[in-house]
C-alpha cells in the first residue's frame, strides 16, 4: 500500500493549524481581555498562560513549516500574496511575546505600558490572522468588497479568540475574576456567533467554488448538520456559563471544551470548502507538493516525534493543572 503523502501532509498541516488556533487562540484572547481587568487580576490572567504560550506559538511554526516543506510552491504564492498582513501579525506576535517577558519584570507605568503593548500585540496578531484567512478563502481577489470581507473575518476571529480566552479563564481562575470571565465568555460567544454567521453568509457570495460545494450538491442537507452542531455547542456553552454564574454545580472545563468544539466544527467546514486546493482554484495539494523524497524524509521523522510531542504536552498540562495564582514562581 502506498501512502498518498500530499494528502497526509495536508491533514497534518490542517491539524497543526487547528491546534495553533485553539491553543494560541486562548493566549491571544486572554491578551485582548487584559485591559478589562484590575492589576491583580491581570497578573493572574497572564500567569494562567505563562507555562503554555511559548509551546502554543510553536504550532504556528509547525503549520507554516509544513506548508513550506510539503507544499513549497504554495508557500511562496500564499505568503507573497499576504505580505503585509503577515508583517502585521509577526509584529503583533513579537510585541505580545516581548510584553509577556517584560511586564513581569517591570513596575509602575512601565508595567502599564507593557500591558497595553500586550493587548496591542494580541489584537494585531488575531485580527491579521483572520484577515489573512479572509484573503485566502477568496483566492486573494482584489477589490473593496473582498477587503471588507477579510476585515469582517478578522473581526470575527478576534471574537472567537476572546471566547477561547474567556472560557480558558473560567477554567483557570476563581472568585471575582472567574465571574468576570463568564460575562466575557458570553459576550465573546455573541460576537463569535455574529462573526461565523456573517462569514458563512458572505463566503458563498464571494467564493464561487465554496458555493458549489455547499449548495449545488445532493449533500447539502447532510452538510447542514455542521452548522446545526455549531448552534447546539453555542447553546450548551451559554447554558453552562449560566450555571457557573449562578453557582450551580457545573464543570468549569465545559465552556472551554464547547468553545474549542465550535472551532473544530468551523475548521471542518473550512477544510471541506477548500479541499483539495491549497491555493483556491489555482493549486491543489498534489500540484504544490514537494518531491516524494522530501515528503518521505519528514514523514518518517514525524511518525516518531509527533507522538513524543503530544506526550510531553499532555505531561506539561498535567504539571500545571489547577487555578492560576498571583505569583508564578511558587
Amino acid at each position: 500500500m502506498t501512502l498518498d503523502l500530499p494528502l497526509v501532509f495536508a491533514a497534518i498541516m490542517g491539524l497543526a493549524m487547528l491546534a495553533y488556533v485553539v491553543l494560541d487562540g486562548y493566549d491571544l484572547g486572554v491578551g485582548m481581555l487584559l485591559p478589562a481587568a484590575t492589576p491583580e487580576q491581570q497578573n493572574r490572567m497572564v500567569n494562567s498562560i505563562g507555562p503554555f504560550w511559548d509551546a502554543n506559538e510553536t504550532w504556528l511554526v509547525l503549520g507554516i513549516g509544513i506548508l513550506l516543506v510539503a507544499f513549497p510552491a504554495a508557500h511562496g504564492v500564499v505568503l507573497t500574496a499576504l505580505y503585509l498582513p503577515v508583517v502585521v501579525m509577526l509584529i503583533g506576535l513579537m510585541l505580545r511575546g516581548s510584553a509577556f517577558e517584560f511586564r513581569m519584570k517591570a513596575l509602575g507605568w512601565h508595567r502599564e505600558l507593557w500591558n497595553w503593548l500586550f493587548w496591542l500585540g494580541s489584537f494585531l496578531a488575531s485580527f491579521s490572522q483572520g484577515f489573512m484567512l479572509g484573503r485566502y478563502i477568496t483566492g486573494f481577489e482584489s477589490g473593496f468588497a473582498f477587503l471588507l470581507f477579510a476585515a469582517v473575518v478578522g473581526g470575527g476571529l478576534c471574537g472567537g479568540y476572546v471566547l477561547l480566552g474567556a472560557t480558558w479563564l473560567v477554567l483557570r481562575t476563581e472568585g471575582e475574576l472567574q465571574q468576570k470571565a463568564i460575562v466575557w465568555a458570553r459576550w465573546g460567544l455573541a460576537w463569535t456567533g455574529l462573526g461565523i454567521g456573517l462569514v458563512s453568509l458572505a463566503t458563498p457570495l464571494v467564493a464561487q467554488s465554496v458555493r458549489q460545494k455547499w449548495f449545488e450538491t445532493s449533500w447539502t442537507f447532510a452538510l447542514m448538520l455542521l452548522p446545526a452542531a455549531t448552534v447546539l455547542c453555542a447553546a450548551a456553552l451559554w447554558r453552562s456559563c449560566g450555571r457557573l454564574a449562578r453557582g450551580e454545580p457545573a464543570s468549569d472545563l465545559a465552556p472551554f471544551l464547547y468553545a474549542a468544539l465550535i472551532f473544530v466544527l468551523a475548521f471542518a467546514g473550512l477544510a471541506y470548502s477548500l479541499f483539495p486546493y491549497v491555493v483556491i482554484e489555482q493549486m491543489t495539494i498534489w500540484d504544490a507538493a514537494a518531491h516524494p523524497s522530501a515528503l518521505k524524509a519528514v514523514f518518517y521523522g514525524a511518525v516518531v516525534v509527533v507522538p513524543l510531542i503530544a506526550g510531553y504536552t499532555v505531561f506539561s498540562y498535567r504539571v500545571f493543572r489547577g487555578k492560576a495564582r498571583e505569583s508564578l514562581y511558587e
Binding site: E57, V69, M94, E101, A294
Partner: protein
C-alpha cells in the same frame, strides 16, 4: 528590481542578525544552567539556587526574544525568497522541519517546567527538564547549521525529474563545512553566553561586593571563557582552512587579496578599493598570508581576480573579519586576566569589574562580525553554485519592502532597548530583592 533585491537582502539580514543575538546566548547558557542545576542538586547551597534562578530568568527572557524573532524567520522564506523554496525546498524544507519537530516543542515545554515547576515536579525531573532544554537548543543549532552549511558547501544532492532532491541525507547534513561551522558556532555561543554572565555578574558585584552568588557566577563564566577562547581560535583556523578548500573566493576577499600570487602578504590594515582593485594605505606582513593559509611562506594563494565576476565584495569581508578576530583576542586576554584575578575565590578590584561589565555584549560583536563574513562571503550565491540570490527574490514591491523594513526596525529598537534595560536591572538588583 535591483533595489528590491537590495531591500529584501537588507531586511533578511536585519531579521536574522537580530534573531541570532538571542540563540547565540541561549545555546550556551542552557548548558551553564545544567551546571548550576546539578551543583544545586548536589550541594543544596543557596548560592547555586540564587544563580540558577537568576540565570533561568535571563535565559527565559532571551529565549522568548529568540522565539518571537524566530517565528518571523519561518515566514521570511515565503514572503521574500519564494525562489529559494522552489529551487531547493526538497533539501532545505526537511532540515527546517526537523528543527521544529525535534527542538522547538521540546525547548518550549520543558522551559516552562524549569521556570515554574521547581515545586511541582520531583528534583530528578527538574534536573532532567533543564538537560532537555539544553539538548533542544543544541539540536536546533544542529539542524539550522546543517542547512546553513549546505548552502555554503552543498553536497549529497542530485537532480531527478528536473528537481533538486537529496540523494544522500547523510551527505547533505554532514556536508564538508558542517563540522567546522557547528563547532565554531557552539564555541561562539559559549563565549557570548559566558561573557554575558561575566559582565552582568561584575555589574552586580560593583553594586553589592558581598554577593557570593554573583562572585561564583563570575568565576564560572571566566573559567568557561578561558577554556573556550583558545579552543575557538584553533577551531576558527581550521574552519578557515576548510573555507580555503571549498570557498576560496571568500578567503581572498577576507584577506583583501586582489590578484593571485606567491608569498601572499597578510594585510593588517588597508582601505580596500573596489574600483581600482587594490588596497589603499595598506600595512602588510610579506608572505604571512601564504604562511597562515598554506603553512608555507612561498605558497601561491589565489586572488579575488581569479573568481570574478562570481566573487563577494571585498571591503565588508575584510573589515568584518578583522573585527571578529580582534574581539576574539580581547575575549582571550580578558578571560585569562580574569582567571588570575579570581584565583582562590578572590573578588576582582573595581577597575577590573568595570572592564568586565563593559565586555557584557562583546560576544554579540564577534558573532555578528563572523556571521557577516560567512554570509556575505557566499554572495552572489544563495546556495553556492546552485542558486543565485538574485534568482530567489520574490515579486514584493519596493513600497511594501520599505514599510515592512521600517516597521521591523522600530519594533526591534524597542525590543533591544527593553531587553538590555531589563537584563542590567535584573542582574543589578540580584535575586533576593526581586522576589
Amino acid at each position: 528590481m535591483q533595489d528590491a533585491l537590495q531591500l529584501a537582502r537588507a531586511q533578511f539580514g536585519l531579521n536574522i542578525g537580530f534573531h541570532i543575538l538571542f540563540p547565540s546566548i541561549t545555546m550556551a547558557l542552557a548548558w551553564i544552567l545544567v551546571f548550576f542545576r546539578v551543583r544545586l542538586a548536589r550541594t543544596n547551597d543557596p548560592v547555586w539556587r540564587v544563580s540558577y534562578q537568576l540565570w533561568t530568568k535571563v535565559f527565559a527572557l532571551t529565549f522568548g526574544m529568540g522565539v518571537v524573532t524566530g517565528v518571523l524567520m519561518s515566514f521570511q522564506f515565503g514572503t521574500n525568497w519564494p525562489g529559494y523554496m522552489r529551487a531547493v525546498g526538497n533539501v532545505a524544507g526537511p532540515l527546517l522541519a526537523y528543527e521544529v519537530l525535534t527542538a522547538f516543542f521540546l525547548e518550549a515545554t520543558f522551559l516552562a517546567v524549569m521556570l515554574f515547576g521547581i515545586n511541582r515536579v520531583p528534583q530528578w525531573l527538574h534536573v532532567l527538564s533543564t538537560v532537555l532544554v539544553a539538548v533542544g537548543t543544541t539540536l536546533s543549532a544542529f539542524w539550522i547549521l546543517a542547512l546553513n552549511s549546505w548552502m555554503q558547501t552543498p553536497a549529497g544532492h542530485v537532480i531527478e525529474d528536473g528537481q533538486l532532491i537529496a540523494g544522500s541525507w547523510l551527505q547533505v547534513i554532514f556536508n564538508p563545512s558542517f563540522p567546522y561551522r557547528f563547532t565554531h558556532m557552539m564555541f561562539a555561543s559559549g563565549l557570548t553566553g559566558s561573557f554575558l554572565i561575566i559582565g552582568l555578574s561584575a555589574w552586580r558585584l560593583l553594586k553589592e561586593p558581598a554577593d557570593r552568588a554573583a562572585a561564583s557566577a563570575l568565576r564560572t563564566g571566566i573559567v568557561v571563557a578561558a577554556v573556550l577562547a583558545p579552543l575557538q581560535i584553533f577551531a576558527g583556523d581550521q574552519h578557515g582552512l576548510n573555507t580555503l578548500e571549498h570557498q576560496p573566493a571568500k578567503i581572498a576577499a577576507m584577506e583583501a587579496a586582489w590578484e593571485t600570487r606567491t608569498r601572499m602578504p597578510l594585510v593588517l590594515f588597508a582601505l580596500p578599493n573596489e574600483k581600482e582593485r587594490r588596497n589603499d594605505y595598506a600595512l602588510e606582513i610579506p608572505g604571512a598570508a601564504s604562511l597562515i593559509l598554506k603553512h608555507d611562506l612561498d605558497a601561491e594563494v589565489r586572488g579575488i581576480g581569479d573568481f570574478a565576476p562570481d566573487a563577494p565584495p571585498v571591503a565588508p569581508l575584510f573589515f568584518a573579519f578583522r573585527v571578529m578576530v580582534g574581539t576574539g583576542v580581547v575575549m582571550l586576554l580578558a578571560a585569562w586576566t580574569g582567571l588570575w584575578l579570581t584565583r582562590r575565590g578572590a573578588v576582582p578590584a573595581r577597575w577590573a569589574l568595570w572592564g568586565f561589565a563593559a565586555l557584557t555584549f562583546v560576544g554579540w560583536i564577534a558573532t555578528l562580525a563572523g556571521w557577516l563574513v560567512t554570509e556575505i562571503g557566499r554572495q552572489p550565491w544563495l546556495v553556492t553554485g546552485v542558486l543565485r540570490t538574485a534568482d530567489a527574490v520574490g515579486p514584493v514591491s519596493e513600497a511594501s519592502l520599505g514599510s515592512s523594513l521600517t516597521s521591523y526596525i522600530l519594533t526591534y529598537a524597542l525590543m533591544l532597548i527593553s531587553y538590555i534595560v531589563v537584563l542590567t536591572h535584573l542582574a543589578g538588583k540580584g535575586v533576593e530583592v526581586m522576589q
